[in-house]
């Protein structure tokens, strides 16, 4: 049984189905807590992804640095944030990417919420 009975627009609930699908991808991203692993990924991305057994969709999503694609491939944002960290990207960068606006526009949207 999944928990995703009532879909919420623009939202993927990270339930058992997602956790199973994304396990290898999330495990690789979890490894990026270690600076040596981040450096190793940068040095040889293909070998690093192969070591974690990413499936083709996950490998492509990593290649594209595309957060929505990574989520569709089973990625969880808490682990994906560690992947984004390799490139110095923060949650506003990935928010902008997922909503199809520039970072400045994304930030302006949030500031507007505060007014």
């Amino acid at each position: 049984m999944t928990t995703t009975k009532q879909p919420i627009w623009g939202t993927t609930i990270f339930d058992g189905d997602q956790a199973r699908k994304g396990y290898a991808l999330n495990k690789m991203c979890m490894s990026f807590n270690d600076a040596a692993n981040r450096a190793e990924f940068v040095r040889d991305e293909d070998a690093y992804c192969a070591r974690y057994g990413l499936n083709p969709a996950q490998r492509e999503a990593i290649r594209h640095r595309d957060v929505l694609e990574l989520i569709a491939a089973g990625g969880n944002v808490y682990y994906l944030a560690k992947f984004a960290g390799i490139f110095g990207l923060d949650v506003q960068d990935i928010g902008a990417q997922q909503t199809g606006v520039s970072k400045a526009e994304f930030q302006a949207r949030l500031l507007a919420e505060g007014r």
Partner: protein, 279 residues
Amino acid sequence: MAKIVGCVTTSHVPAIGRAIAKGLQQEQYWKPFFDGFAPVHRWLEKTQPDVAVIVYNDHGLNFFLDKMPTFAIGAAPEYVSADEGWNIPTVAPFKGDPALSWHVIESVIAEDFDLTTCQEMVVDHAVCNPMALLWPGGGDWPVRVVPVEINTVQYPLPSAARCFKLGEAIGRAIASYPEDLRVVVIGTGGLSHQLDGERAGFINKEFDRRFMASLTEDPAWVTKYSTLELVERCGTQGIELLLWLTARATLGSVRELAANYHVPISNTAAGMMLLEPAG
């Protein structure tokens, strides 16, 4: 006997740690958030707690999907922070209180809650940032800590109703501890925000304000919602209000001594409350 002197709830997003590391507290963007803690600092100076029981969610530092406890509690003599993947400076280690941890474990498991007990535990920004907000300046922490961790990563999550009951049980556990300790209970995370999906950037001020008001007037109000109903109202990360709720439920009736609500910090509606037992 031990006594809960109060409850503090606050947002914990990583950007807070970056702002502290860069000394941005008085910059225009951050000032309305950091200034909200002045009454908390005065209150902590006055009440001088010995221990902080801190209810938080791990974001992929101590726990991974290989083993994901619904509820976990630290029982370690010391807790350290560590690199979470984006090079935030680590903070001074936190001293634990294993005797109190084991008392809470005994008491809460006797009430049929199934806690995962951790004699080793690294703590992430959801512990470090609130601690640095309450006791700024770095250096040695003036309190020992007992971390209580709740899964908000992998669904199904515990319901709000279940978290409320866990908080009540932790409150009873602390109140039955024979040592004369002054305990502050801290709940971290929230309020409304969403990092993932096309809905990233979602904020719901009306719901946040209603939730904050409920913690004083009618703390079980939010337990009428299912987890998914809460995600719909406050976002995939806004669900961290479960940690506020658990912390709040350790106390009976309360009075609000201070509150702050500011939008945005990073992608988040930031909230803070300071509650004291009434009477």
